[in-house]
Subunit: 664 residues, 2 copies
């Protein structure tokens, strides 16, 4: 590959342009973080001028290098880089509108706001952990399509905050284990955090720490271009993931504030900026970039465009071109629909009593056979989450041809890695843990939702129905807490049919991640008559209509649907006319037309049944509705006893229904 | 201190008793985890027989050693130990009722279920991180009261899962930085996880990793008592926290299953148990412990009782006895009430326009001056969370006399450490981060709630009102997700008066943790007339009543209360009679008497106002109520523009109110 090393003077001016744009934009906004962009400007310049391979005219070129600004508060560095290398939507006007409503230049980089932003960052540590997923996807696709089509690096800029966050451990341990040698983390080792020097809160030897996790590590002067270049070259040559500790001065270029935590997150002020301009020998007005500096930055794009053209020629000549492009395209929804439909027909005929986690495994057999781009995994609960289908080989260090990831006991790292794989493209990840431990990966789930990345979370052991493991493992508030999150589909299927339907929806979702809440315990098949339509897609539907006008509607989810059916039997034996509604996805139901919603909910009194807290149920049962569920944490004991103890039996539900009808 | 080293044969039998009780109890329950107790039985025996200092007859003796089973699934190890050393509530019957509903012997150790259980464990990594808080509390109290009153160790047993979880990094980094030399982690290095060998998912050199974080580390054969003893002695002598990598065989003693992941979480079965009994030369029936073995275990308690008696003599002779005991007693609620009341009077008189985070700092000045046991801190956002009052010196490596902790960028580690300090006793911790990052520490918040540990979470920047940092930093669903959690008080005060009231409640709460959601932006004082009563204690109250029968009730929290007042002005100018209710704590309001609730809510149509999602608001506004809030994620921009953009202005709220009245 052509390697351009611009003259030192040109590179110095390129770096100065980054510094000045950052301080000017923050000053214009009177808000933002100049310290990191100014401190890392030299590292960024060398990385972009001499190493990175991207083509601003084709920001989605699949074999581009990925650049992740894990220290997302340094967003102006990214925006300045994108402006200077020529992303056409990152105009000067956008830089001038930094942090203004509607601008592409949000306070932290937001995925989808502008071209080339590989992910949303800001919550610390997410960038490095998501990048692990990108680097893993790169190796997995390389194993499938070869060096000619997939051979790129993932570069991360991370700060001390990213490395202090626990998620960095999960990510680094996984990356070191798998030997993701094309992952290169540039650590902004400025020894400053918001509260003051890093020494206030950490004495870690980060290089030794990462070395212990199997990384190549090196220390480099972050203001010495040749040293940075040499370190990057060595990192690229090393088969291990690399941590380059770039010793920098935060706010480098600000004459009096550089090196202080005061320059981290506040405008420098007119006086300091004027002094910086003088010190940097930059006599230009705010947002003015001299032609020669622009020209120097322009070479980055030209080098990338050439590489991209070479790659396109290779793709055109490749026998795998069609498969490669198909893997990146939306999934074959028609094929999946057909396969799931056949699966459902079999279930409705044989009516097995599977736990929905087991049903999920069976449905995944269909999904994985139909969609070659799926990648399974679990946070060390494979046999409990039932996430692995028999055809799935494990990804191991040195062999990335498999489709199953042993994420280890790292829920947060798993979720972030799944985001990274999905963002990378070409793979469709799903991964499992216990539902109670959704809390462990919630920040990454939130990023899935915020970015609109349709990963699938398989969360089993979804209630007190898990039994003896007790309240630490029993979600009661978890489902409500997930339903509260915007742009997240929370499925709680009642049986194998609904589970398969939920999988179809999760796999065909374009911009919404999914959580499948699945039972540990066996459940009867409640969808006893085959229907081709995906009823789960409607969010809620009448599973059993009453004979004659309804006296009562029971609405339940997941494992409580069969309970509601049993309660309905008891009530009908007393002469009541009871409908039972299954409500596997509140969010989808909320999107249905009013008329459909009214028809499902009916006008009779409603009673909700879910082994969880009531919060959020008003959307289905109204404020006058009854609810049989949980009011506090669970307990340890055999599941049937717990259901009795907490009043979740057909008799008790029927009792609650009678009480509701009495007061209605 | 007396050190008893029982003869090797006696210790071998002691360890066998642990193994057999674990396999028998799991078999009886047909559920549970025999692998860890059997693997760590030798380590546990040496630790208890030769080192640990506890007195089962006085389980709450303040200077006891703390023992935390971070690998909580190995609960039978703890129960067997407690039974054998003589905790009188841990009877044979309890062991026989392992994992049964109502038994003290829950699937995972539950704080409060039985004496001597120092904390609830099960969610991996929480034990080690909470133990860091215990060890920190020990040093802080030692700095205050000296070696005579406070001088004990915190022992942790952790598995590979604990060390893979990200929280372990935050905890280990903090402990290494602070040099918590009395923290000793016994890592069950059995090289097995649920999915199979550790090598499936990790290649970490854990000893090198912990050494990089400033720990003393050593490798030891976990089945060699003398080696274990020597390693414990060396760890106690070392000024750094210690990680002892105890190389063990999971399920040691099970002839055919030992060493396999199959022994981790399932009963061994009758045949394997019989073979184990033969191999272990243990001819006794299930749950039968021979007298000599009981006698050997009994020596642990005798040594502890003697140490406890010595300590009591020292306490009695100490001039600091009263202060020591006062710090462990419930806070002086009367003094706090009086101080807060005086503070409130000043606020209502001067009516400042403080952000509630600033008001919180001022209220903390009162709290910290009144309650010497408070310990402040922040996850590296001290100046943003306003958690430090001027009188608070920092805790630093080597000097634990201060009252303020720089937790670093480690929200999860902070929350767990606060749990540990509160569980330890003698200190009352509070700590801050941004509300959006409650997600980062949610598993530890859940343990606060489940255990009933009344720590206080200071969570600032509580809405789109934080402005330019954008949607990653703007909570919209976070408040609802916290309200969903049982036994958690979520406060969102409207001004400095309510903030002070919330602090009073948080500090006097006996068994419920608190989250204070505080604004970044300035807010007017809405409590303009002093009232001695703590109105926040009622959860919601009428802030401004209408003149004449209400046409409308506006209900708001936090920064939206002043917005509601402004909207009420607009509506009243149109001739409507509008009451405004402030609702700083939904959970407390739910506990109020029906009559009070009805009086506050009134019978007029209700409109809720909160810059967050609606979920959970039905409790206050009913299903017919209107709501002005958020329906999705926020955006980056100046806060006033965001409020306008998302329809949260007096004019838009008034408009929503008119629409509500039209359709009502």
């Amino acid at each position: 590959m052509e390697k351009i090393a611009p003259p030192a003077a040109a590179e110095a001016a390129m770096a100065t342009a980054l510094r000045v744009l950052a301080m000017d934009a923050v000053e214009a906004a009177q808000s933002g973080h100049p310290g990191m962009p100014m401190g890392m400007a030299d590292v960024a310049t060398v990385l972009f001028a001499r190493h990175i391979r991207l083509d601003p005219s084709r920001p989605d070129w699949p074999d581009r290098d990925r650049f992740v600004l894990s220290a997302g508060h340094g967003s102006m560095l990214l925006y300045a880089l994108h402006h200077l290398v020529g992303f056409e939507d990152m105009t000067l006007e956008e830089l001038q509108a930094f942090r203004q409503l509607g601008a592409r230049t949000a306070g932290h980089p937001e995925y989808g706001h502008a071209r080339g932003i590989e992910m949303t960052t800001g919550p610390l540590g997410q960038g490095i952990a998501t990048a692990v997923g990108m680097a893993l996807a790169e190796r997995m696709l390389n194993a499938r399509y070869g060096d000619g089509l997939v051979d790129h690096h993932t570069f991360v800029m991370a700060g001390d905050g990213c490395l202090m966050e626990g998620i960095s451990h999960e990510a680094a341990d996984l990356a070191g284990h798998l030997g993701l040698g094309r992952l290169i983390v540039l650590w902004d080792d400025n020894r400053i955090t918001i509260d003051g020097p890093v020494s206030l809160s950490s004495s870690a030897d980060q290089c030794a720490r990462f070395a212990a996790l199997g990384w190549h590590v090196a220390r480099v002067d972050g203001h010495d271009p040749e040293a940075i270049d040499a370190a990057l070259a060595a990192a690229k040559a090393d088969p291990r993931p690399s941590l380059l500790a770039c010793r920098t001065v935060i706010g480098q270029g600000a004459p009096t504030l550089a090196g202080s935590h005061k320059v981290h997150g506040a405008p420098l002020g007119a006086e300091e900026i004027a002094a910086a301009r003088a010190a940097l020998d930059w006599p230009h007005a705010p947002f003015v970039i001299p032609g020669p500096v622009r020209a120097a930055w322009g070479r980055v794009a030209r080098r990338g465009a050439a590489a991209r053209a070479d790659w396109e020629a290779r793709l055109a000549a490749s026998p795998q071109a069609a498969a490669f492009e198909q893997a990146r395209a939306p999934v074959d929804a028609a094929a999946l629909r057909e396969a799931i439909c056949a699966f459902k027909a079999g279930i409705s005929e044989t009516r097995p009593a599977h736990a929905t986690r087991k049903a999920s495994e069976l449905a995944l057999g269909v999904v994985n056979a139909t969609l070659p781009q799926t990648v399974g995994g679990s946070a060390d609960l494979t046999g409990s989450n039932n996430t692995r289908t028999p055809d799935m080989a494990s990804v191991t260090p040195g062999d990335f041809s498999g489709r199953y990831i042993h994420y280890g006991i790292r829920e947060h790292g798993m979720a972030a890695a799944m985001n990274g794989m999905a963002l990378h493209g070409g793979l469709k990840p799903y991964g499992g843990t216990f539902l109670a431990f959704a809390d462990y990966c919630r920040p990454a789930i939130r990023l899935s939702a915020l970015m609109g990345v349709p990963v699938a979370y398989v969360m089993t052991h979804d209630s007190i129905g898990l039994g003896e493991d007790g309240p630490t493992h029993q979600p009661v508030e978890t489902i409500a807490s997930l339903r509260a999150m915007p742009n997240l589909h929370v499925y709680r299927p009642a049986d194998a049919v609904e589970t398969a339907e939920a999988w179809e929806l999760a796999m065909t979702s374009a911009r919404t991640p999914s959580v499948l809440c699945l039972s540990r315990q066996s459940l009867p098949t409640v969808r006893r008559h085959h229907e081709a339509e995906n009823l789960t897609a409607r969010g809620a539907y009448v599973l059993r209509e009453s004979i004659g006008p309804r006296d009562l509607t029971l609405i339940a989810t997941g494992s409580e649907v069969s309970l509601a059916l049993d309660a309905a039997d008891l009530l009908e034996a007393e002469g009541l006319r009871v409908a039972v509604v299954s409500a596997p996805c509140f969010e989808r139901f909320a999107e249905e037309a009013l008329a459909y919603r009214a028809e499902v909910l009916g006008t009779a009194p409603r009673l909700g049944v879910e082994a969880a807290v009531r919060q959020g149920w008003e959307a289905l049962i109204g404020c006058e509705g009854g609810f049989a569920g949980m009011t506090g944490f669970g307990a340890s004991g055999p599941a049937p006893e717990l259901y009795r103890h907490f009043g979740l039996t057909p008799a008790r539900v029927a009792e609650a229904a009678r009480a509701l009808l009495t007061r209605s």
